[in-house]
């Protein structure tokens, strides 16, 4: 009986493997994330990361993205240094990770015209995780799926403290915009 069970399990595992690996995946290593924390009439506080990795499972709409914190480029090098050293603490927390899902995603439903999907998931950075619930625009052209969207986060949600002397110059809510061109 025990041996039979083992066979069953082996058979089951063998059956699962092609099923799991058969998932149709679209990915990029050059996704783009911009964030903007400027306050009007003060110096621009904004950065862009053009080397974001992202992957979409087209079978179920699962989406994962990963950005290295030291990949964010600011206009002023010193600001970038401050960002890495005192705000994001990049040496301690090198990555920002998103794990989520495009609700009701179906590859067949896509066209060149962007279609709206609800994106839910969890964003982890600076050692803290926060739920994200927003809208993403998804379109397909040839072999490329494009996902565009933006959401707001608060530095305080991720335990990133903004000292009083600069609190007027950094927005309470940071706008994050992303563009992923995913290829199969």
């Amino acid at each position: 009986m025990k041996k039979r069970n083992l066979y069953f399990i082996l058979f089951f595992v063998a059956a699962m493997v092609p099923f799991v690996s058969h998932a149709q995946k679209f990915a990029t290593k050059t996704g783009d994330i911009k964030f903007e924390a400027s306050v009007p009439s003060f110096e621009e506080v904004a950065a862009e990361n053009k080397n974001v990795s992202a992957i979409l499972n087209a079978n179920n709409g699962e989406l994962a993205a990963l950005a290295l914190m030291n990949g964010f480029r600011f206009k002023v090098a010193l600001m970038e240094e401050h960002f890495n050293e005192s705000y994001a603490e990049t040496a301690k927390y090198p990555k920002a990770v998103f794990k989520g899902k495009l609700e009701g995603f179906s590859l067949k439903a896509l066209s060149e015209k962007p279609k709206q999907f609800t994106l839910t998931g969890e964003l982890t950075l600076h050692g803290k995780t926060k739920k994200i619930n927003d809208v993403a625009m998804v379109s397909v052209k040839g072999n490329t799926i494009t996902i565009i969207g933006n959401f707001m986060v608060k530095p305080a949600d991720f335990d990133i403290d903004v000292p009083k002397v600069v609190s007027k110059k950094i927005a309470d809510e940071v706008q994050v915009a992303y563009t992923f061109l995913l290829e199969e």
């Binding site: 069970n5 069953f8 399990i9 089951f12 595992v13 699962m16 799991v20 998932a23 995946k25 990915a27 290593k29 110096e43 990795s53 992202a54 992957i55 499972n57 699962e62 989406l63 994962a64 993205a65 990963l66 290295l68 914190m69 030291n70 002023v76 090098a77 010193l78 600001m79 240094e81 401050h82 890495n84 050293e85 005192s86 990049t90 040496a91 090198p94 990555k95 990770v97 794990k99 000292p163 002397v165 600069v166 110059k169």
Partner: protein, 280 residues
């Protein structure tokens, strides 16, 4: 059979979970090059140059003050009555080369300098090595007082090698061997060529505050001068860096700082000052 169903259920859960993690694992192979914060926050430790140089196309506006000796007490408002100023700028030509120029109230000196990186700890070298060469032009010497003076007589050359190592996230240390040549000097009291060795460091107290110290031993020091010993605090406030300091050498050019330290810590004879950087 119940056991088997249970196992099946567990396996399904494990699989669906691992499938989701796999998605992230597939892109998580990017090598995370550890981010390395620079050894020093300011361009200077206190008065000596640090191994930090401006980034490419980055402009630093620099204003520094050294007040008079605190020994004067309340009648001179602890030195505030006699401020000397350095005003200037530094510009990064590329990632490893920068130029700077400044004007000093003390002896009406114009200072020009190049600073260039020879080795970088952030890219794998055991230490960061920076070359720093300065020419000081003393415009205080009047033609009326020195009728035979030529332009060359006003010049002082300083060559330094700045060698730093970031020991930990909080502690950075630096050694500075240097050579100073004065075209105009008084042979009765000093040498025209002076060799000295400086040492300094920075200890981060909090994310935005650090304690800095430096000391220079001058091998050719005349008896009546001291070796400079300075202590300061780095305060980072967004686009500014503010360094508050106490020193026994009032001059801000390396030539003056190292060879003519007139204050004496032991006698309560030292100077308050600050360096302020604004980055554009």
């Amino acid at each position: 059979m119940k056991n088997f169903l249970g196992l099946l259920f567990c396996l399904t859960v494990v699989f669906s979970v691992s499938a989701q993690d796999d998605l992230l694992a597939e892109i998580d192979s990017v090598s995370t090059q550890d981010y390395d914060t620079p050894a020093f926050k300011g361009l200077q430790i206190v008065t000596l140059q640090s191994t930090k140089i401006p980034a490419a196309k980055e402009f630093y506006f620099v204003v520094s003050h050294r007040f008079g000796s605190v020994k004067g007490g309340i009648s001179e408002f602890f030195g505030m009555d006699m401020a000397t100023t350095k005003i200037g700028g530094a510009y990064g030509i590329n990632e490893w080369l920068s130029v700077s120029a400044s004007r000093h109230t003390l002896l009406k000196v114009y200072e020009t300098a190049v600073k260039y990186r020879l080795a970088n700890q952030a890219t794998g070298a055991p230490v960061t090595v920076i070359g720093y060469n300065t020419i000081d032009i003393n415009t205080f010497l009047e033609k009326e007082d020195y009728p035979k003076i030529e332009f060359g007589d006003r010049l002082t050359y300083i060559s330094q090698l700045l060698v730093s190592r970031k020991i930990s996230d909080r502690l950075s240390l630096e050694m500075v061997p240097m050579y100073i040549h004065k075209n105009l000097y008084n042979p009765h009291v000093e040498n025209d060529d002076q060799f000295s060795l400086g040492a300094g460091g920075r200890l981060k107290l909090t994310k935005r505050l650090s304690l800095n110290m430096e000391y220079v031993y001058n091998f050719d020091k005349p008896d009546f001068y001291q070796n400079p010993l300075s202590v300061g605090l780095d305060l980072e406030t967004g686009g500014h860096i503010f360094q508050l300091l106490f020193t026994n050498s009032q001059a801000m050019t390396e030539g003056g700082y190292v060879t003519t330290a007139a204050g004496d810590w032991g006698k309560g004879d030292f100077f308050f000052g600050f360096n302020l950087y604004r980055v554009f």
